[in-house]
């Protein structure tokens, strides 16, 4: 399965890019995170504390145990600080 993965704020800075296409066999967000962590140190660092990471699937906030079925865009970012 091919996914567009986006990173924002310090997750973008740690991973070193704002978006990439990822080929994955993961079925949940948590599975995808495990795959990414295993890739390279910069990913392991970006995802070292999941309490500080939020995820959106196709631009809707989701949980780490959410399934990736039918999802095209996954975004990872820190807690939001708008307003």
């Amino acid at each position: 399965m091919k996914l567009t993965v986006l990173y924002f704020a310090w997750l973008r800075e740690r991973v070193g890019l704002p978006r990439e296409t990822v080929e994955t066999g993961a079925t949940t967000v948590a599975g995808l995170v495990e795959e990414l962590r295993a890739r390279e140190e910069r990913y392991a660092l970006a995802f070292s504390d999941l309490k500080s990471v939020r995820v959106a699937l196709d631009q809707e906030l989701a949980d780490f145990d959410a399934p990736l079925d039918g999802v095209r865009e996954v975004a990872f970012f820190p807690p939001m600080t708008g307003g």
Binding site: A9, Q59, E60, P79, G82, G83
Partner: protein, 155 residues
């Protein structure tokens, strides 16, 4: 209902005035402006930090507009409102500049106040914006405050 996400500066007074003038039949207009302060937030502790040189706001194009529209829709379902306006900037800005505004118009003041506070609370913690503060010491992402997350519980 009018929702704008933009890099350009806007004139808060002119927007608030036009919104109030257009709100036919409303008796109450509440507007909120968020302004770049002159001190950094001081990181996770939230204490006063150094003098702020500038702020940079990153956002998630596409999701931002959807999230704001959903919040405004919820507010309109929940309170009796004549109109809602949200303008939020992204990109670089300096102290004193208006970051964003929310305005609500309602027949009665209670609804206008509640909806404006609801929108601000959700916008703080559920709209995909991230603030970075730049001081003489360097740049730091603003940490989300527990108090902002807790504020959502009242709605």
């Amino acid at each position: 209902m009018d929702i704008r996400v933009q890099a350009e500066a806007f004139d808060y007074g002119a927007e608030a005035g036009a919104f109030a003038a257009a709100a036919t039949g409303a008796g109450a207009v509440v507007s909120f402006a968020g302004i770049v302060r002159d001190r950094a937030s001081g990181g996770a502790g939230g204490g006063a930090g150094g003098r702020l040189a500038r702020m940079e706001i990153e956002h998630y194009p596409g999701m931002t507009e959807k999230a704001l529209a959903a919040m405004a829709g919820t507010a309109r379902d929940r309170w009796s409102l004549n109109d809602v306006l949200i303008i939020h900037r992204h990109g670089p800005m300096v102290p004193g500049e208006v970051i964003m505004m929310v305005a609500t118009a309602a027949p009665h003041r209670g609804d206008a106040f509640a909806a404006a506070e609801f929108l601000m609370d959700y916008l703080k913690s559920r709209a995909p914006f991230w603030k970075k503060e730049v001081t003489a010491e360097g740049a730091d992402w603003v940490a989300a405050k527990d108090a902002d997350e807790d504020a959502l519980a009242r709605w």
